[in-house]
Amino acid sequence: MEIFGVPTQALFGQLLIGLINGSFYALLSLGLAVIFGLLNIINFTHGAQYMLGAFCAYLLLEKLGLGYWWALVIAPVLVGALGIIIERTMLKQLYKLDHLYGLLLTFGLALVIQGVFRNQYGSSGQPYAIPPALAGGHNLGFMFLPTYRAWVIVASVVICFGTWFLIERTKLGSYLRAATENPELVQAFGINVPRMITLTYGFGVALAALAGVMAGPIYQVSPQMGADLIIVVFAVVVIGGMGSIMGSILTGFGLGVLEGLTKVFYPEASNTVIFIVMALVLLVKPAGLFGTQK
């Protein structure tokens, strides 16, 4: 069978890869958006924290024999706690200064963290096996669907929309949105905004680590994995609009799919299509598709 002269197996195969990549774009840009909204910091350490999540899973398995499901819980907690320490000791000093300082600090931290892991583990990747419960797959007739990949897509969608719901529809989320607009006033109502900022950073970082754990069995666990991905994720964030929650989710999935389709119809452009879209969006709507000018 063919669609537009392309075999359906290839088409749906690339669509699936696009959705998988999109899942990670969405999870990571969501965390960046949450952090940027409240802290006004572009967290360049995000890729390194994603990598830390994956390494955490790898080390838990190698050193302690704790498998994937444990890692899904433990890695975000550990890496999130590390994020909290970073916020309390370093980022906190920068809120009154220009954006640029936060960017430089987080960029520097990313280089340090990646450097340490490259030293320790080399640049080549370590494999991480798919957990037995999610091994195998189903033949859907028009394509073969590996169970683990289906799980990653479903889990990402649930996490993304769960986070969206938490922020846009709950009381806790209303504190977060209000503090994003006017932190001084929210604090003067009796809410401990500095603590909220710390926990928000921890949450955003934990999301990155969670994505890292889920990525382990798909990509390899390597010190470079975050650095490669984060460049694309920043493009996604720029396209979606800095700080918009729904924007980062939809743009993440959308661009993943667009990238997959480009691979089918015009493979030469598949690595650049996101950046082309970014340039076009910046020309037409500088605040991003879902963003509002700050």
Partner: protein, 234 residues
């Protein structure tokens, strides 16, 4: 006369390098409505923000129920039972009217219930699902006042609640303040419109260059009108 609820002594405040308050002294007793009058830039808003802990640097003393607040963070100050309604109203655009109304947490028992707030401001009840900043100026002011009435705070700091509003709305806000006074709230009110303030307040403090230069009892405002006019430059 009630007990002293709030006592400000030699209060100094800075925004960065600029020294704005130069030793404010005044007090507010339980159940009173007290106003701060003064020209633009005299330091009235800064006084309220200093009480709330919202300026960079403060010195001196802010006693609330005999407890020193000068070193507390603003969230802790609010939890003592003080609520602030800012001059620019501070309605959140990313929250709907109901979320705005429910945002400030309860800090003590004894706040008004939602039904009582809707009774004071019926407009709000009809607009609960609207985006906060889509309300008219007057409605936003009602929302800004309404949301702090729920908290159970006993001392309300209101910064120019009538600024830029139509006479009917100004009257409605005046009636609300009278009603709140009857319910036992204590109110520190910043006003430019002293005809409005005159009818409500037990006492007026005139602020100039970050100091209190004169205290005028409510009843004596009329008799001192010429001096007040001089201070306020009207």
């Amino acid at each position: 006369m009630g007990e002293i609820l709030l006592a400000i002594k030699n209060l100094n405040a800075w925004y960065g390098e600029s020294h704005i308050l130069h030793g404010m002294d005044f007090e507010v007793r339980e159940g009173e409505v007290v106003t701060l009058l003064g020209r633009n830039g005299a330091g009235k808003t800064t006084t309220l923000k200093s009480i709330m802990g919202m300026v960079g640097k403060r010195q001196g003393s802010v006693l609330f129920r005999n407890r020193e607040l000068i070193h507390l963070a603003s969230n802790r100050i609010a939890r003592q039972g003080i609520a602030f309604c800012p001059e620019e109203r501070g309605i959140f655009a990313s929250l709907d009217v109901e979320e705005n109304l429910l945002l400030p947490p309860q800090v003590a028992a004894g706040g008004l219930g939602l039904e009582q707030i809707y009774e004071l401001f019926p407009n709000l009840k009809e607009r609960l699902r609207s985006q906060g900043t889509k309300l008219s100026g007057g409605e936003q002011q009602m929302l800004a006042i309404g949301r702090i009435l729920r908290t159970g705070a006993q001392l309300l700091l209101l910064d120019e609640p009538t600024e830029g509003l139509a006479p009917v709305i100004v009257q409605q806000i005046g009636r609300t303040i009278e009603r709140l006074k009857k319910e036992g709230f204590t109110i520190l009110l910043v006003e430019q419109n002293f005809r409005f303030a005159q009818k409500l307040a037990d006492r007026h403090y005139i602020v100039e260059h970050g100091r209190v230069v004169e205290m005028v009892p409510g009843a004596a405002l009329e008799a001192n009108m010429h001096r007040v006019h001089e201070y306020l430059g009207v």
